[in-house]
Symmetry: C2
Subunit: 256 residues, 2 copies
């Protein structure tokens, strides 16, 4: 949007009032978790990428649209995790309101609409972050990955949102097809274990971990090895999607 488009932008006509979406976009790459954050021009702090729900748009479609706009990637694993509706989360807080009003080009009517109370539906997404080119929208100054241990100051309740999303992710690792999305088609056991350990945040017993997955028929050893230099060439495995989905559906807990 150009400045004159911003001035003419009337969200009250386009979107449901008082309701927003915020996305905790979690990137994984080689034992690291990162979170995608954005900074708006004139705002003294960072936010999660978010948006509004079109008056004729399904809630999930709105979340997918926001995600695709920011990552350029369609069809990522996206899941609603919690709706945040505390009164404290309002932009009405004097500091927030001042920050938002400091904004150039937005009409007073729109500032009023945006500073009303919002209940926000939180979604998390998981992606291989090396595959994503974060995209800022025009009224933002920056949009980039932060290490999960080194997040910047987040406005509103967005730090709480990240916390709740990661907590949910740790629990859902046991019954959602999360591994599929973050590992290559063929992977080594250390690669798979590293993914689970990074998300859970603790070391897993290698023998138990492997035994459980093999005994459930969820992964299968291939007659191929990965060459990683020197004398090391660990075996490659792949998921057996049918058994994995069956185990998830029947409520088998992948507890390690």
């Amino acid at each position: 949007m150009k400045k004159d488009q911003i001035a003419a932008w009337n969200p009250a006509e386009l979107y449901l009032s008082n309701l927003s979406i915020d996305c905790v976009i979690v990137g994984y790459h080689e034992k690291q978790l990162k979170i995608l954050c954005t900074r708006f021009e004139g705002l003294n702090g960072w936010l999660l990428p978010g948006g509004f729900i079109g008056k004729n748009e399904n809630l999930d479609d709105a979340a997918n649209r926001v995600l695709a706009e920011r990552t350029g990637v369609e069809g990522l694993f996206l899941k609603q995790f919690h709706t945040f509706g505390s009164l404290q989360r309002s932009w009405e807080h004097p500091v927030n309101k001042k920050q938002l009003a400091a904004y150039e080009g937005v009409s007073a009517q729109t500032v009023k609409w945006m500073t009303e109370r919002f209940v926000s539906v939180g979604y998390y997404a998981l992606t291989e972050y090396s595959k994503v080119n974060p995209k800022k929208i025009e009224i933002e100054s920056e949009c980039r990955w932060f290490d999960v241990q080194e997040l910047p100051d987040l406005l509103l309740d967005h730090a709480q949102m990240v916390h709740t999303a990661l907590e949910t992710l740790q629990l859902q690792l046991h019954h959602e097809p999360i591994g599929f999305n973050l590992l290559p088609e063929k992977f080594t056991l250390p690669e798979m274990q590293a993914l689970y350990e990074t998300i859970i945040g603790k070391e897993l017993d290698q023998r138990n971990f492997t035994k459980k997955l093999l005994s459930l028929g969820i992964i299968k050893k291939l007659n191929e090895k990965k060459h990683i230099g020197g004398h090391r060439s660990p075996s490659l495995y792949k998921f057996i999607k049918r058994n994995y989905n069956k185990a998830l559906k029947e409520g088998v807990q992948l507890a390690f």
Copy 2:
């Protein structure tokens, strides 16, 4: 509310627009699960008990208010599980709109407000249903328990809400303090196993179930027995709340 109060009722002034709450109130008693349903005068079908969010009310407070109004019980275990935002769930559907407009005493302005699109935040609650006296509100003709296998026709997407709530409950049984709320302070192992089996919907191996709970220090055998007639007097157990909460917090999965 009396009829003249209903006519003067102006929800647009009191509540956030386009946003509602629906509660799947699950009752447990002696191996049976029941769901609380309500029927409005003039509406040809049943609904889950629901309500709106006051403009100056926290989302969770609104859900607790709805729950307390219907059950008369404060402090029940209540948990948000999913927000439903499909376009299909609108009262705008001709059949629904006709049903709602058939309603006596409600102003046209209010019918308009109520038939706009609503995104609804779903909460589930768990209670010992023998302790609850379901309360209908004045514009309802009935509010009562139904066996989970014999639910009536539910309007809108409320059947889907029940399904999603029960699915969530089955998963969360492994990491939420659900047992605490539905068992007496001192219970027998068969009582506890019956609760878990009823919610999960399948039989559990008794030896594994008991062994796991005892080895985690979550339950403790008391030096007392329950007399249930004949020569049967099974031992009583209680939860060790501290260990239970610790296990839940550290992410131990109570997988059986």
